[in-house]
């Protein structure tokens, strides 16, 4: 149903989008949002959007409250610690911010719009369906682990009042079996798109903390966008130095290893994963590899070619190689791939010299809508 508010709502969204786009690089490269999921709320300070008025400074004014407590008790933290205060009032002309809430999905859409990312056309049919349980119902029977405490208490309270057992002086409520209420679920069938992203990160000694942080930020936003495109996407994580292993997301984002670099080890692990778990006809497979491009030996690079040729490139929608710049790495691997796979259009190479270029790199990878 169309509403009168729609026009105002659209205007508001347009204004906010404009403001966000102005600062998108800042939000994206800051890395503060890592760890959020699609429907999570994200509070973002938007500058100069709320309507300014002459108003009292809240910190200065304090207030009156009601309830228990003694002089000296703390009643609440300041949510905007270190926010703009009067001290530096001179530098930014009338700057004031309002925290606006977004879901990560909305942000991903805005990013995609700014980068002009096309929607992805999945391959394979959306045949896989999964059942999903939604706990939105209340029943009288169920397992104890799903007991709804408040509802149960309420029933018990009602019963004890009705039966005259309720004692005002000693309001003891003991739920009996009939009072118990349990959360219950409804089954929903959701179509599941069959897509998987495999991240590969080089964690050798030459990859410093800043390099890893850049990789984290970039993979986080790639992940957010692809999740926006596919429902129920899977992510797998591989880290390697001279040996590769599959790890949990958490480990992927936190690990600090060291040692040499043999990229072929990761490719081997990657092709094993694809072969064993993601038969190609049903799956949209994305591989993103991040490294500083300093492979151990020419021999190992030859091995890499072989894995890519035989096991990987033929099966994936997209293979992205992002090379972060590190003070130690030679960056040779980028050139090796460039020379060898000049004709391959599902292999995309991108250089990420610093945080500011993360956005451009994302566009390199996803700009073709594969």
């Amino acid at each position: 149903m169309s509403q009168k508010i729609d026009q105002d709502h659209a205007r508001y969204k347009k204004i906010v989008k404009g403001k966000i786009k102005e600062n998108l690089r800042k939000y994206i490269s800051s890395g503060d949002l890592i760890g959020k999921k699609g429907n999570d709320k994200v509070s973002i300070p938007i500058f100069n959007i709320d309507i300014p008025r002459f108003k009292y400074s809240r910190k200065d004014s304090g207030g009156v409250g009601q309830g228990n407590g003694d002089v000296g008790d703390e009643i609440g933290k300041d949510p905007q610690k270190g926010g703009t205060e009067d001290g530096k009032a001179g530098d930014q002309p009338g700057s004031h911010a309002l925290e606006v809430e977004f879901s990560l999905e909305e942000l991903a859409r805005i990013m995609a719009e700014e980068l002009e990312l096309p929607n992805i056309k999945p391959k394979g049919k959306k045949t896989v369906r999964t059942r999903k349980n939604k706990y939105s119902d209340i029943r009288k029977t169920g397992p104890e682990s799903l007991r709804h405490f408040k509802r149960t208490f309420r029933e018990a309270l009602k019963r004890s009042i009705v039966s005259g057992n309720y004692n005002k002086e000693r309001p003891l409520i003991i739920p009996i079996k009939e009072d118990r209420r349990y959360r219950s679920w409804k089954e929903d069938i959701v179509p599941q798109t069959n897509a998987v992203i495999i991240y590969i990160m080089d964690v050798s000694g030459s990859m410093g903390e800043e390099q890893k942080q850049m990789v984290r930020i970039e993979s986080f936003w790639i992940d957010t966008w692809l999740r926006n495109q596919y429902e129920g996407i899977e992510s797998r994580y591989i880290i390697h130095d001279t040996k590769a292993r599959e790890v949990e997301q958490d480990t992927f984002y936190r690990t600090a290893e060291s040692g040499g670099t043999m990229i072929s080890s990761a490719y081997k692990e990657c092709s094993r994963l694809i072969r064993m778990e993601y038969p190609l006809s049903n799956w949209n497979i994305y591989v993103f590899q991040f490294s500083d491009g300093d492979n151990w030996s020419k021999d190992d690079t030859e091995k890499c070619y072989k894995f890519l040729d035989e096991d990987i490139l033929g099966k994936v929608n997209l293979f992205g190689y992002g090379q972060v710049k590190s003070p130690y790495g030679s960056g040779q691997f980028y050139h090796d791939l460039e020379d060898r796979f000049v004709e391959t259009d599902n292999l995309i190479l991108s250089k990420i010299p610093d945080r500011d270029s993360i956005m451009d790199s994302i566009k390199d990878f996803l700009g073709k809508g594969k």
């Binding site: 009168k4 205007r11 508001y12 004014s61 304090g62 009601q66 228990n68 009643i75 004031h96």
Partner: protein
């Protein structure tokens, strides 16, 4: 919008019947059931079915919808001060909720109709809001959406610069005295001592006459100052004296009119919610509730009167104050004898059984607003019974900390907070500051500084209306300062206190 289902109509009739028995006096009420989307829309419009197009309604809608979908909040009731009074019920609410809302709404309605603060409000505001919407839309068609919308932003930024009390009392005119011709002074206006003609040159020597003449000239000059006395209704002043074109003036007038319409609601928030809560609780517990609904009602009620730390819940505070007043007047706890009773035990057990409570609260709801309500009835006994405190920001711990539980401090703080609806008092002092047609405003500093980044941004908007540089005199961290925005640059000047006003 759907017509009210029969079962709700019956509850409405029943509730209205009880309300009349209790002598509540209200406009005819139209209840409308809305789904949550429309409810959010109407709430974003400030309770009205339609408003002029503006993005901030969209922002409010976005916030409400998100907060509803995350399960954080849900709007129970919305009621408009209008004749007939319109109120909305949320579709799918339980019957207990609907009963409660109806009682609550009828009491609001009674308050709108009878409280003095609302006496001057437009009771056909729904129509007026629709007219405003039509006018703004037409302006947008003629001058472009962007131009009008951004000027509305500017006006809204100034919308709290009004003088809500001006509708109840006569303020001195903000216009200068008509020009009397300062060069040619009417000799009859020069002060002379009465005397015989032969003594004239001794009693009223020429030097004296000259002195009187120049004093008179000064007086006339200063009365030419614009405005002759400080003006609190900054919006009215701008409408009259700012170099606005006709559509700008039309927009500013609309914003001002709406600001005056909403002002009484801000002036009586505690009383109005307290009154409504007092009555819905009475209707529910004495008349409307089915036994099976009691627990659910108690659950909802405890939510309404929930007290979060560091906040004042107007529903709870208003309700408790009305009940406190009722008890005092029922037991005769007022007047000379009671005030001067020194014996605490006698005072505590004081009960003359005069039974004037009900009558008193009706009188209070008619003649008081929040400031006077608290000034009169927020007593030491009440504070001791209901546990209040003041809190302040503690820099070291970056948190708010309880600083006092003294009655005097608490009351002082409360009244300061409520004065001018919690808005800083800003007045126009001079429209020809520095003799350069600059605008000069003063912030009447009652102990609390302004939020400076906001003040600067607001000055920028003010300058867009006035077109010449604007100056605001205020106190920042104990120092008298003048903030100036000249259209391209912010400056701050410290001044000495005796720089005069």
């Amino acid at each position: 919008m759907k017509t009210l289902p029969r079962y709700l109509k019956l509850i409405q009739n029943e509730t209205e019947h009880f309300s009349r028995e209790y002598n509540l006096d209200f406009f005819p009420t139209r209840f409308i059931v809305l789904d949550y989307k429309t409810m959010n829309e109407v709430a974003a419009f400030g309770g009205f079915p339609s408003r002029y197009p503006h993005w901030r309604f969209g922002m409010e809608y976005d916030r409400l919808s998100k907060s509803y979908s995350y399960g954080l909040s849900k709007i129970y009731e919305l009621v408009i001060n209008n004749d007939p009074c319109y109120a909305y019920l949320l579709e799918g609410n339980s019957l207990v909720d609907q009963k409660l809302v109806m009682g609550h709404v009828l009491a609001h309605n009674d308050f709108f109709k009878n409280n003095f603060a609302f006496a001057h409000t437009n009771r056909q505001m729904i129509d007026e809001m629709a007219n405003h919407a039509t006018r703004i839309k037409r302006l947008m068609d003629n001058h472009g959406v962007e131009a009008i919308e951004s000027f509305i932003d500017v006006c809204l930024s100034l919308e709290n610069l009004i003088d809500p009390y001006s509708v109840y009392i006569q303020r001195p005119s903000m216009d200068p005295e008509p020009d009397l011709g300062s060069t040619r002074i009417d000799s009859s206006r020069i002060h002379k001592f009465k005397t015989k003609s032969y003594l004239e040159s001794f009693i009223n020597p020429p030097e004296y006459i000259e002195k009187q003449k120049s004093a008179l000239r000064d007086r006339i000059d200063s009365s030419h100052q614009l405005p002759p006395a400080p003006v609190k209704d900054v919006l009215a002043f701008l409408i009259k004296y700012a170099p606005l074109n006709s559509w700008e003036r039309a927009v500013l007038e609309i914003i001002r009119e709406e600001a005056y319409y909403f002002a009484p609601q801000k002036m009586t928030k505690i009383m109005n919610e307290g009154w409504a809560t007092y009555w819905h609780s009475k209707f529910m517990t004495e008349k409307l509730l089915e036994p099976s609904e009691v627990i659910n009602y108690a659950d909802v009620f405890s939510g309404i009167t929930y007290q979060a730390p560091g906040q004042l819940n107007p529903y709870k505070m208003g309700l408790e104050l009305f009940r406190h007043i009722e008890e005092r007047w029922d037991k005769g706890r007022f007047g000379f004898d009671y005030q001067n009773c020194k014996d605490l035990v006698t005072k505590k057990q004081w009960n003359k059984k005069v039974g004037l409570g009900r009558e008193k609260i009706f009188e209070v709801r008619k003649h008081f607003s929040d400031v006077t309500f608290l000034d009169e009835f927020f007593t030491q006994e009440f504070v001791e019974e209901k546990l209040f405190y003041t809190y302040d920001y503690n820099k070291r711990s970056s948190s708010y900390v309880i600083t006092s539980k003294e009655f005097k401090e608490i009351k002082q703080r409360l009244l300061t907070q409520l004065t001018n609806q919690g808005q800083p008092v800003i007045e126009v002092l001079d429209a020809n500051y520095h003799n350069r047609r600059e605008l000069y405003l003063i912030h009447r500093h009652y102990g609390v500084d302004l939020e400076i980044p906001y003040a600067k941004a607001t000055l920028e908007n003010l300058q867009r209306v006035w077109k010449r540089p604007v100056n605001l005199r205020t106190i920042i961290k104990g120092e008298h300062q003048i903030l100036t925005w000249d259209g391209s640059e912010h400056t701050r000047e410290k001044i000495s206190i005796d720089a005069g006003i």
